[in-house]
């Protein structure tokens, strides 16, 4: 009798404890979100959403808070990273899923995971010491540029794209491939016409998550972009991204300047949210089918 009571009690108690712990993760999200919005909103209200987002001038010491050059910076660097990362990433995932012999997979898979495990400051340092001078001496200019940021971020988003794409290719039902081969398609045709279209939603989700990572990356871009707050005219120009703006200026910011950095955070938050929700929507649609 007594034992049964204890068993039941313990069962319920453990459930409660897990619930409380799970709740703490959500509350962390809520606290952070509320804090960013409460800290940043007053400035957006004061400056006006339109002139904050489409303002060309960022000089907090003169009361000018326009982040358009940084939005352009974020978009251009992310696009560059996507141009480099997506083709390489998808090709690599096809290789892993379809061509790589078991022995090679043993080397490739941990190597790609390791790529994800390298701290971003190490990527940034490597970029600063190697990529930036290489661009400077071959293409001229200072080297701190959209190009430098794109190359490094393009490498950094590879693990995300490769692992998610590979999983979604492997997870396809066997009869897709077998049917295609039985109909006389070559291996290459099977991949291009059957497997890739079928795994499309998984691959797109992987790409979007990779892009989300590129948008949110801070340390690397602080180190290699040069952080100038001007509209870029070529890929060799220095730009500043939204994340860098916060990371760069938070130490010395106070008053309205600090609020403006939180407001930058709000814009970043909204962009990342849209990307993540899109990725989730795409993967969910696939499950329904």
């Amino acid at each position: 009798m007594k034992k049964k009571f204890w068993k039941k009690f313990r069962d319920r108690l453990s459930g409660r404890i897990f619930f409380i712990l799970a709740l703490s993760t959500i509350s962390a999200l809520v606290v952070i979100t509320v804090f960013i919005f409460v800290s940043g909103m007053p400035l957006i209200a004061e400056v006006g959403l339109f002139s904050f987002i489409f303002g060309m001038n960022w000089s907090p010491s003169q009361g000018q808070f326009g982040i358009l050059p940084m939005i352009v910076g974020t978009v251009s660097v992310t696009l560059g990273a996507a141009l480099i990362g997506i083709p390489v990433g998808i090709c690599c995932s096809i290789f892993m899923a379809e061509f790589a012999p078991a022995k090679m997979q043993v080397i490739f898979r941990p190597a790609i995971q390791l790529l994800a495990g390298i701290p971003s400051v190490v990527y940034g340092f490597w970029g600063m010491i190697f990529i930036v001078p290489a661009i400077s001496s071959n293409l001229g200019g200072l080297g701190m540029s959209i190009l430098a940021g794109s190359i490094i971020l393009g490498i950094m988003i590879l693990p995300t794209i490769i692992s998610i794409s590979e999983v979604s290719i492997i997870a396809l039902p066997r009869h897709y491939k077998e049917g295609a081969l039985a109909l006389g398609m070559t291996h290459w045709q099977t991949i291009l016409r059957v497997q890739l279209p079928a795994a499309k939603s998984g691959i797109v989700a992987g790409v979007i998550l990779g892009i989300g990572r590129a948008v949110g990356e801070t340390m690397v871009v602080i180190m290699v972009l040069g952080n100038a707050v001007a509209m870029p005219e070529s890929i060799l120009d220095s730009v500043r991204t939204l994340t860098t703006n916060i990371g760069l200026e938070m130490g010395y910011a106070s008053g309205a300047h600090q609020q403006a950095l939180f407001a930058t955070g709000i814009v970043l938050f909204v962009i990342i949210m849209i990307l993540n929700i899109t990725a989730q929507y795409i993967t969910r649609k696939k499950v329904k089918k």
Binding site: S59, P69, A228, V229, A230, E249, Y252, S254
Partner: protein
Amino acid sequence: MKRLILILIIMLSLGLLSACADSGASGEKTTRVVVAGSTSVKPYVDILMEEYRFLYPHNSVSVQGGGSSAGVRAVRSGIAEIGMLSRALTADEQDLWSVEIALDGLAIIIHPDNLVNNLTIEQVRGIYTRSITNWSEVGGHDAKIHIISREEGSGTRSAFQDLVMADEFISQRAVVQNSNGAVRQLVSGNRDTIGFISLGLAEHQPGMRDVKALMLDGVAPTQENVLNGSYGLYRAFLFISAQEPTGAVRHFIDYILSDSGQEILMVEGLISVSGRISE
């Protein structure tokens, strides 16, 4: 068995609690001074702190970075007893107690291979507003000038803005780095760049590539020239506190303002002050 473990856990946690209470009580006996703020001032205070620890092993001082404004916040919230500032107090910070601990010269630096040795203040201003864009316009090689600046809010930048730019502004095309070290690193690695950093950090440093500190209007950037007033680019490093400091905090500040403290700062490249107390 289970009950035994439970009892053990309760005993252990009680023991821990009492241990915490103990350390709390004894913690009040040793004085602990937390200094936080400007990353420009921090390296110097680090050195002073080591010397201070050696002289007074019972007084503990810890130094943290974070930036001038972070220093103000830390002092206001009571996290730190002393804040370090590399800029002047703003209008809404005037209620804080402050003291100048040293002056810091500002050096305009270029790559050692650059032929230019001297610029006028007007030329520097022209370069930073991008009305001068090629080194050949100021007597150097034929190449585009890459200007390097510090981030908005940095004490070094606001000093440069006040002393050099007057009522004009640094071009938005300037590359922005967020520390003296990063500016130095970039300038030492590219022949076409120009930047500004703390005078003390512009001198030769073992293991690092050199940079050349420019003469301004024919005056070399040296400690002597700052002291005799001929080199005009310098700013004050401040210590701030929520109120007039007493006890251990006062003791540390007095040490820094003492002759031996000031001498250490001089050796490290700063310029001594007599310690004018503003409030």
